[in-house]
Amino acid sequence: MEGDGVLMDYIKNTISDIPTEYIEDYKQNWLKCKLKDSKDILTITEKLKKLGLRSISTISPTDFPNENKIEMNYFFEDLQNRKNCWVKCDIPREFDKCKIDSITPIMPSANWHEREAYSMFGVDFINHPDLRPIIVSQDYYGKAPYRADFDWRAHEANQLNNLKAIVDDFKSDESKNEKILDPLGSDTMLNWGPTHPASGPIRLKVHCDGEKVISVDPEIGYVWRALEDLVTRKDFIGAIVAVERLCFMDNINSMTGYCMAVEEIAGVEITPFAKWMRVLLGECARVSSHFMGLGNFFNTMGLHTLMLWNMDVREYFLDVLESYSGARIATAAIEPGGVRYPLDISIFKELQAAIDKFDSVIGDIEAIFVKNPTMKLRASKVGIISKNEAIDFALSGPVARASGVKTDIRLDEPYAAYNEVKMDYITAQNGSAADRFRVIFEELKQSVDIIRQAKQKIEEGVASGEFDPQKDHMVKVPKKLPAGEAISRVEWARGEVLMHLVTTEKAKSPYRLKMRAPSFNHTMMLNRLLADKTLSDIPLVFGSMYICQGDLDR
């Protein structure tokens, strides 16, 4: 840990010749600085890249109409060495002046994040290689729906024309395909989704020649619910229902992330008991997510047995969530200030039943599916991501770890009670689809091990009177928060979730919440992974990237 401080100072010195309003330490592993001039963004990006901060987690604009500015937030990360940098700068708000240099040529991971900022806030990125709108449908093009002065009601009132815009765009897209493809050749454009047995609500425009894939262009946004805007209309507690809908598979950890940001602004420290409960519930949710992920991987190869076997075990973990919160999927169990409900210690019997069930079947699953020779034959040579690629494209979670990147927020930036949990990085070396499958499987075992630790700790704490399960679950968080800004990171089932929360003085609801979700970066990789492969590899690689459309679109 001492080494980190030295590294931070080194970074501070290196970027100190760029004119900044301030450079300050933030949290354990972060440096926060604000540029005086937005033109310096390229310089600082290059410098940070040389220092090893090669990944950009996300780009989050915040709209301040009263001050007539848009504040840009860049989150630079070094995935392996626990040093990160938060760079801010202001740009003008008028549409024609709202411009900043694109950092995509330097950091490829910024590509889609810049496109998102362009679609949602109308920020123009100069020299971006492919600045098309993303996520939003055609009727929102050029309208910047996340700006504070966007009138949603007026937009909704114009529904017929909106639909027309979408249809017209689809038709022009279709006729364009006719022109660019040779009518005598065998090239074709396949719509892999949004209504495809294996796609889920995403559309991959697959340009292929017979069975061979030439390029893949993902079109996302089919389940865009504008969650980041939705939270601003709710109070700080009500916002958790929007946050947990990032993806229902692992709803607990995304709420934990949001609540940590709220608690930081409110200056509240939660009780150790609540911290352990967050670990316990979070790992239950991770187990339920990983089970679905593993099953889905085999589904893409036409074998549904694993999914059904997994669902059988998963139900037991959902039972625990249900007994605690009353809901199996959307639990709303984590709240700013702790966890929502007092703990009835008798649900630990159900938890023990879940662990026993897990222990009884995990051996069979490993023998039949993880060691399956046909699976290895297919999956160990496709979807290969090198370690450098994983870092450059800011991949996270099991996908990055399968490529040998030692990154895990639970260890890098421990939150809740993870600093007391015994665990280690689970990595693989080759970064193929089969490696990702194995990493997720090993993490499943790790999660159950963490559940055991948390269960034991809570049981001991309750027995010794250290924890009071009826009272310790919550500390009071004021309804109105001061003006402030915070980020929080959690290791979500699918990777890193970064929450950037902005509040105004005496606010009852968030002013801006940016949720960085891992599937966004993972989907960005699809074209690189699938070009020159065959149609059979599309579902397999897609499934192995552990993508959830919920957090892809938000």
């Binding site: 047995p197 036409g302 297919r378 579902p539």
Partner: protein, 318 residues
Amino acid sequence: MIDAFISGFLFPGVLYALVWTVGLFWFFRKFMAPLHKRVGPYYNGPHGSYQTLFDLSKLWTKESITPTGVNPYLFSTMPLIAVIVAMLPNVVIPWTNNGPLLNTPYGLLILVVLVGIEPFLLFLIGFGSDNKYSFLGAIRVLTQAISFETAFFLSALAPALLFSTLNLSKIVESVSFVSFLILLPSLILYFISLLGLLEQPPFNIPDAEQEVVYGFMTEYSGTGYFMLQLAKFVEFMAVFAGAGTLFMGAYRGIFFDSYLWFFIKMVSIAVIMITIRAATPRITMEQMLHFSWRYLVPLSLLNLAWVMFAKAMIFTGV
């Protein structure tokens, strides 16, 4: 006249094919369920056995949608032709000890040719659907058929070589325990190519739902889809019956000869097929081609050599 009516519509004709389809469909679902840790059809009838009947009757009364841009006559008649062609092998198979409906010296030839035509019909079905996924699936059907038919024909040829006849009744009569052992490698090869020909895992490449959206079946709904499913299950019957006839002595059994023995033999092949289905993921096109031409076809040729050797050295009695 009445005989022709009975054999055409009851046994081994249309009704038999329908009952077999409904029964096997139910058996597939019910047998697959415990492997999946599920219950399967449950509510309708004993052990949910009416469920498939209801499903199929629902399918054939539903609206069939014909997409614009296709030839409607071709689109709706092709599934019917597929069913008829799949049913035709029934006439040459010796179901009971009365022998087959059509007792011909070329029974085996008729069987393999009729089984071999089916993939081409499926290709036409996919080709006529005017859908990109159907077309891709159709091409896959052809590729796979070409790859597996060679091995299928060669392994089906082995009993004919051993017993020096193409007459299926004579083959059945000649089968003994010794000949079963000699033909065991042929049976295994026949079974593997059967998986490929019937598009079963790990070779369910042409109708892979995750890749090409059920391939040639994408555009079919209602009656058309029902016909295709019927054709598929009747095809199962023909190929299973082929295995039973060629290698396992069809209706012949212990203590008494009856259709029951034939049925048990066919169902045991189905059981192995479903078990493989529940435990094996799909392989890719290239791996299938690689497997078929590098291993399966050469092994089938070697197998023929073994059968001829065995005929000369061990099986001289016949």
